[in-house]
């Protein structure tokens, strides 16, 4: 067995590596260190940014276009009623510890994620599941209680990664998956090292021998590390003010793409004066998104008029719904009875994009007679407690990083305190419609409702300012799913 895989590896190496070998190691920079390495038990994006597709794999995956692609499931059938999904699994797949992958692992992973004691951050993925059957090692049948339009898409998230019963408990510190890279070392506060999995089930799929994720929090240090060559790639650099310089530098490829993060100034819709749609619209009219992006993110970032990622195929542009118009803003405030001015507070987290946006919004709102007091609110600790859980706020500002999260406006208990039956209907219909075209039409409807009703001030899509060595190819420009997928990365000379 060992001999065979060794021979295969040699064959692959021989066929792929040109005469003068290109580099096969990659050092990739990230701003935030993950607090653990198991995406199935915790929420932070940073976990996915190390592990997604690199270390763990799911039945399906999301590709760089945001589309669902087969992975551990080579194919699947959906029954006409949309309630039964039959997955045919890849065979010969092994976990990094050498144990074989089969249908029992899928059942274990999903049952673990949906158990009452599970701390999985996206339990709604598994909520529609009625039963999981494993007729044979290469087949999984999942029966749903109700049709779920996004079920396959959700199974492509890191939260639905397949883990093994033998090792799941220790995955936080010593992750074991089926991916093309396996865990080597983790120096807390500094780096995580992965090395190529020699037994990977798609031999020759990846070209790198090792990947090191380095954690550099300070934006200036990030740029310095890129310039010095200490990191080969920084897929999402935190220094928009320096990005223009990097774009001019021919040593690097610098691409401004989109993340899944919508930066929105959430309003407390249950509270006066935000229960009045005229006030909400007035506030939106008072915001000049272009200037805001210029001041808060050096001009990088796409203005948004609703809560939907431009990476998603169902995206529609809604920025024209309530454009920048100070006269209109004043008129609406007058109409709503706040012609003599209005005083509001905004609880703003310490992240640069948030605090800068808050300061700029305060300046813009003062132009239409609204005084905006800024209360710095430490994220996550204080913000989660005061804003997210206790809903004790007027306005706040934060990036919503989860993909396809328009349904947060349909949740009664969510911190916006927003209730709109039309929106709920559209979101519910979308989530139950397996047909793609019909589903996307429902999402378009939801986007339009939000754009006109402005339960939150929609500001801009957090850009993904990627910069990497010009000789490095195959990295993603956008992040339709939180990840730093390096499985297609390679070096040219």
């Amino acid at each position: 067995m060992l001999k065979r895989s060794l021979a295969a590896a040699l064959l692959v190496t021989a066929s792929l590596v040109p005469a003068h070998a290109a580099k096969t190691t990659l050092v990739l920079g990230m701003a935030v260190e993950p607090p653990g390495l198991d995406p199935t038990v915790a929420a932070p994006v940073a976990i996915r940014e190390v592990t997604y597709a690199n270390l763990y794999e799911g039945l399906v995956r999301i590709d760089r276009e945001g589309k669902v692609q087969p992975l551990l499931a080579k194919s699947w059938e959906v029954a006409p009623d949309g309630l039964t999904y039959t997955f045919r699994l890849q065979t010969g797949v092994k976990f990094h510890d050498g144990t074989a992958f089969d249908s029992a692992d899928v059942k274990f992973a999903f049952d673990r994620a949906r158990a009452p004691t599970s701390t999985n951050a996206q339990k709604q993925i598994f909520a529609p599941i009625d039963a999981i059957e494993t007729p044979d090692p290469a087949t999984v049948v999942i029966k749903l209680k109700e049709p779920s339009g996004n079920f396959l898409y959700y199974l492509g998230w890191g939260d639905a990664s397949i883990v093994a019963p033998e090792t799941a408990e220790n995955n936080k510190a010593n992750p074991v998956g089926t991916g093309p890279f396996k865990f080597k070392a983790w120096n807390r506060g500094d780096r995580v090292e992965l090395v190529r999995n020699a037994d990977y089930w798609q031999p020759g799929k990846v070209k790198l021998d090792s990947v090191t994720f380095r954690f550099i929090n300070d934006p200036q240090a990030q740029v310095a590390a890129v310039r010095a060559g200490d990191v080969d790639a920084f897929p999402n650099i935190g220094a928009p003010e320096l990005f223009a310089d990097l774009k001019k530098d021919s040593r690097f490829t610098a691409v401004a793409g989109n993340t899944e993060g919508e930066i929105v100034a959430g309003l407390n819709n249950a509270k006066k004066p935000f229960d009045d749609v005229r006030v909400r619209r007035a506030l939106m009219h008072a915001i000049d998104r272009k200037t805001l992006i210029e001041g808060a993110y050096s001009g990088f970032g796409q203005p948004i008029g609703t809560h939907f990622s431009p990476n998603h195929p169902a995206f529609t542009d809604q920025t024209k719904a309530i454009p920048f118009d100070q006269a209109k803003a004043k008129a609406l405030l007058q109409e709503a009875g706040y012609g003599n001015g209005l005083s509001l507070t905004i609880k703003s987290p310490q992240m640069a994009y948030a605090s800068r946006s808050a300061e700029l919004m305060a300046a813009m709102l003062s132009e239409v007679g609204v005084e905006l007091k800024i209360v710095p609110t430490e994220f996550p600790a204080k913000w989660i407690e005061e804003v997210f859980r206790n809903k004790d706020f007027d306005m706040t500002i934060v990036a919503h990083a989860e993909p396809l999260d328009v349904d947060i406006y349909a949740r009664d208990t969510y911190y916006f305190n927003y209730k709109n039956e039309k929106l709920k209907a559209a979101v519910a219909a979308a989530s139950k419609t397996p047909d793609e075209k019909a589903r996307f039409a429902q999402y378009a409807e939801a986007q339009k409702i939000l754009a006109e009703d402005v339960p939150a001030l929609f500001l801009f899509q957090l850009p993904k300012l990627g910069v990497w060595n010009a000789k490095l190819k195959g990295l993603w420009e956008n992040t339709p799913i939180p990840s730093n997928d390096v499985t297609e990365a390679y070096w040219v000379d």
């Binding site: 300070d218 003010e241 310089d245 710095p376």
Partner: protein
């Protein structure tokens, strides 16, 4: 840095002028003057955002240029002076009030109370100031109140120890022992005899603690725990400047100079006052 001032107990005599006193006095007057002036006049409204004029160099827009929002740096510095004092001053006052009261009581009562005060101050001293300030910030939410309390907390034991130390010396004076023997209440002795005797020492200590408070406030607002934006503060200006270090290096200079000059002024004033009040200790440094 927190070492209690070690100057002999004397009644304040006529001030004797010396160089540190003059330089410190001028710098401190300047600081207070600028802070007060900022309340009525600054070249621009400090919080006025002009994105079109962002990151301009000195003299391109305003005397010292503009920051990342196009705000005028001179105006920000002036308003920052007020905000810095507005945290440092109440913090030291609060710390001094409690500390002096506790110190006097410890000196007057001695015994177990004295021991408790000393041990409690050990406990407070055990926490690095920045760390306890961060904890208080987490407790109360960041903002001026948290900063004031955090700085006040570590001023209490400083004043308590200094007060206790010098007050104990005063208590050994013959005429106080006599007053005591005559049945004068310790509270009255403290108020009428002890406090006037140690006032000079305490004023010197307060000046130095004010310098330390300005330094700490700057550190806290650098970490995002000081006065709230858009109120300008020197520490936050430096933290913003670090973000734009390669495009607008000038932003990193002025706020630091402002902090250093303010602290220098107050320290010199404190040293000068000490020398002026007690010439025998001149040139011994601290």
């Amino acid at each position: 840095m927190n070492a209690p001032a070690t100057i002999a107990v004397t009644r304040p005599r006529r001030l004797r002028w010396n160089l540190p006193l003059v330089v410190g006095g001028i710098l401190t007057t300047l600081l207070i003057g600028v802070a007060l002036l900022s309340l009525v006049w600054t070249p621009e409204v400090p919080t006025r955002v002009r994105v079109a004029l962002r990151l301009r160099g000195p003299l391109e827009a305003g005397l010292l240029g503009t920051d990342h929002f196009g705000r005028d740096v001179v105006s920000l510095l002036m308003a920052g002076a007020w905000n810095s004092l507005a945290v440092a001053w109440p913090a030291v006052l609060l710390g001094a009030a409690i500390g002096i009261a506790v110190g006097c009581a410890a000196a007057a009562l001695r015994g177990i109370f004295d021991e408790i005060v000393m041990r409690a101050s050990d406990v407070v001293f055990a926490f690095p100031a920045v760390l306890s300030a961060i904890m208080i910030g987490a407790l109360l939410g960041s903002g001026p109140t948290a900063a004031i309390l955090a700085i006040a907390v570590f001023n209490v034991p400083v004043f308590a120890r200094v007060t206790r130390g010098v007050a104990l010396q005063v208590w050994t004076f013959d005429y106080i022992a006599a007053a005591r023997a005559l049945g004068k209440h310790p509270l009255r002795i403290t108020w009428e005899d002890v406090l006037p005797n140690i006032a000079g020492v305490l004023i010197v200590q307060a000046t130095i603690q004010l310098a330390l408070a300005i330094l700490t406030e700057a550190g806290l607002s650098y970490l995002g725990l000081g006065v709230r934006p858009p109120n300008p503060s020197w520490g936050r200006m430096l933290s913003d400047a670090q973000t734009y270090l390669s495009q607008a290096p000038h932003l990193a200079i002025a706020p630091g100079v402002a902090i250093a000059l303010s602290v220098l002024g107050l320290n010199l004033l404190g040293d000068g006052l000490r020398d002026a009040l007690d010439p025998t200790l001149r040139n011994r440094g601290r």
